[in-house]
């Protein structure tokens, strides 16, 4: 087992870190205030290779793998987690198109995403439920040579900054009744709805998509009719969970740095508070959590890059890392004492951001359903 990253990966990390430290902080105040994604960062991120990191070279992408993507998202998340939140959903759209699209669809829709001309959307969740995917209510009916969509999708990341959306809807009853579609925002009957105001990851735009007898061309079905569940599950498992995990990983890194720096500078009883065992033990815990989560995230991404089946590992990385981010952010806030709950200090944002990573991209509970299944698999009674 080789636990070391290659020089290429280290250079990638350094490159994103330099970019993130210079270009993102000036945007944070506006993001916190408005909740809007700074779309002016798309062009420099495209030039760096972030928007197209997993897209194939022939569609304008960089053609790198998931470990590279995890490192890039982690470094963005260390500065401001809302940015990788938007980017990871963007990558989900690229992955869905790449895995299930026809050549024409890939040629048409992947390049604008790879080049950062627009942002990617994968719309699954509805008011009827996100975890209960098969229970969705949005419908799609084939009428002559058009699909007519009806329904609404909510809690959709990048809803208002995207030119087209990958939408899952019901074409028949049951698990084999879901299909995936590519809807362009200008298709008749398609529109964006309300914008949500989250307590954290502010700057990752979250909103509603509304379909009112929305007409899309027949060829805009993505994958097989009835294959929509597979599109949703594969994309969420392989790209969504690891993307959220990498975002939360960046938050944990920021928690360690903020807490360790503050503890080294804050003087009480004539010494820095880092000399107090309780505080130093919190830091030891955050330090360990960071390493645990790094290992989980990198291992899951590595497996995906080796084309190994890794749904369990992805679920583990996501549910553990997001929970750990909340634990670490809370400790970081408490290490700051009363300053931790003041808006002008960075650490309170880390706690709010961490909290929002927990339900995003799949709840922790669904993650544990996947893990429990794996744990119990050897003991399942044979029929």
């Amino acid at each position: 087992m080789d636990f070391l990253l290659s020089q290429r990966e280290e250079l990638l990390r350094k490159s994103v870190r330099e970019f993130a430290e210079a270009e993102i902080p000036p945007k944070i105040e506006a993001m916190e205030k408005t909740g809007e994604f700074p779309t002016e960062l798309l062009e420099p991120m495209a030039r760096l290779g972030i928007t197209g990191i997993i897209a194939p070279l022939e569609y304008g992408g960089v053609g790198l793998g998931y470990l590279a993507r995890t490192i890039a998202l982690e470094e963005l998340g260390r500065v401001c987690a809302a940015i990788p939140m938007g980017m990871q959903v963007h990558h989900m759209a690229i992955a869905a198109l790449n895995d299930f699209g026809t050549d024409e669809q890939k040629q048409k829709y992947i390049p604008p995403l790879a080049k950062g001309d627009t942002m990617g959307v994968v719309a699954v969740t509805e008011p009827s439920g996100g975890s209960d995917v098969v229970g969705m209510q949005a419908t799609a009916e084939l009428k002559e040579d058009k699909w007519i969509l009806n329904g609404r999708k909510c809690f959709i990341t990048n809803s208002h900054t995207s030119d087209f959306w990958i939408v899952i809807a019901k074409t028949a009853e049951g698990a084999k009744g879901l299909s995936a579609f590519i809807v362009e925002k200008n298709h008749p009957g398609a529109k964006t709805g309300r914008v949500e105001h989250k307590i954290g990851l502010r700057g990752a735009n979250t909103g509603e998509l509304v379909f009112d007898n929305c007409e899309i061309p027949k060829e805009n079905i993505l994958g097989q009719e009835g294959g929509g569940l597979a599109v949703a599950l594969k994309t969420v498992s392989e790209s969504g969970r690891t993307g959220m995990a990498a975002t939360a990983l960046g938050i944990i890194n920021a928690c360690l740095e903020e807490a360790a720096r503050f503890a080294s500078e804050r003087v009480l009883y004539g010494k820095p508070i880092s000399s107090l065992q309780a505080i130093s033990f919190y830091l030891a815990e955050i330090y360990t959590e960071l390493d645990i989560c790094r290992l989980l995230c990198y291992r899951a991404s590595w497996m995906k890059d080796q084309n190994m089946r890794c749904d369990t590992e992805n679920a583990m990385a996501k549910s553990y890392t997001c929970d750990a981010a909340v634990r670490c952010a809370r400790k970081a806030v408490e290490i700051h004492g009363a300053y931790g709950i003041l808006q002008e200090y960075k650490v309170q944002r880390l706690l709010r951001d961490a909290m929002v990573t927990v339900p995003a991209g799949g709840t922790g509970e669904i993650g544990k359903v996947v893990l429990a299944r794996a744990a119990l698999a050897p003991y399942r009674k044979k029929k």
Partner: protein, 265 residues
């Protein structure tokens, strides 16, 4: 404008300087464990050369005199977009002062062949002498301009340079061949893109020792250095908290002297 040569130097990471220790016997600094980075001002020189590449398709060659373990740092700079790198490395170069270093770099440049422009950073973080650019230019018998904070191409061959001086700027017109050293105001170095990281893995780093450069051994290394270090003292940064005493006029005088000594007046 066909070929640009950029002199770059790996320096100890300034974030790690407080870990520097001195060997009390050899009176040299122990560099192990201190990571190297590219001298920050050199990035502005590389960016200036890359702009020439963008405009004219010029070849950009990096040149560095450093130990062979400098290759990862050079690889990073290649990932900014340069075409190839030449690393001048030989035990015989060790201990060179700026004059000997300039001789070696100049010979390296002669070995590379024809060039239009040579770019350098205005000074390095470690030695900070800022002497090498003028000395390399002197050995190559070409003009040089330091403190360049802006550069424009007038016609294809003519350059309009802005040089920073204490109270303002000087505008100069110059033609290649020329050596220029850049300040940080000159440009914003481009971020290293992932595509370039991948491409740079295939770019060549040629390593040349003195068997290739063939410089007279008395002109390089310690033997070729007119200046020598007689002593080296570690001076840990400690705030001395010197208390000034006396009446206000006396204190004011001493304080003004101290401010003058800092070079501010």
């Amino acid at each position: 404008m066909k070929r640009m040569i950029v002199c770059v130097k790996p320096v100890p990471d300034p974030n790690a300087w407080d870990r520097l220790q001195m060997d009390p016997v050899s009176k040299t600094l122990i560099r192990e464990g201190i990571p190297s980075v590219i001298n920050p001002l050199d990035k502005h020189a590389v960016e200036a050369a890359l702009k020439m590449k963008d405009l004219f398709g010029a070849e950009v060659i990096l040149l560095s005199m450093a130990p062979v373990d400098a290759q990862p740092v050079l690889r990073e700079v290649l990932a900014m977009g340069a075409d190839r790198a030449v690393l001048l490395s030989d035990k015989a170069f060790a201990g060179s002062d700026t004059l000997a270093t300039a001789r070696i770099l100049a010979q390296g440049i002669r070995n590379i062949g024809e060039f239009d422009l040579i770019f350098c950073g205005n000074f390095t973080l470690d030695g900070s002498t800022a002497q090498v650019p003028s000395q390399v230019a002197e050995f190559l018998d070409i003009p040089n301009v330091m403190h360049v904070c802006d550069m424009d191409i007038l016609k294809t061959e003519s350059l309009l340079l802005t040089q920073k001086i204490e109270q303002g700027t000087v505008k100069l017109e110059a033609e290649p061949p020329l050596l220029l050293s850049f300040t940080k105001e000159a440009n914003k170095p481009r971020y290293i893109s992932f595509m370039e990281i991948l491409a740079a893995e295939k770019r060549e780093i040629h390593i040349w020792d003195n068997a290739i450069l063939n410089i007279d051994e008395t002109l390089i290394g310690l033997k070729g250095s007119p200046t020598q270090m007689a002593d080296l003292l570690l001076q840990p940064k400690q705030r001395k908290g010197i208390r000034l005493t006396g009446n206000p006029e006396e204190i004011a005088r001493e304080l003004a002297d101290k401010i003058h000594q800092l070079g501010i007046i």
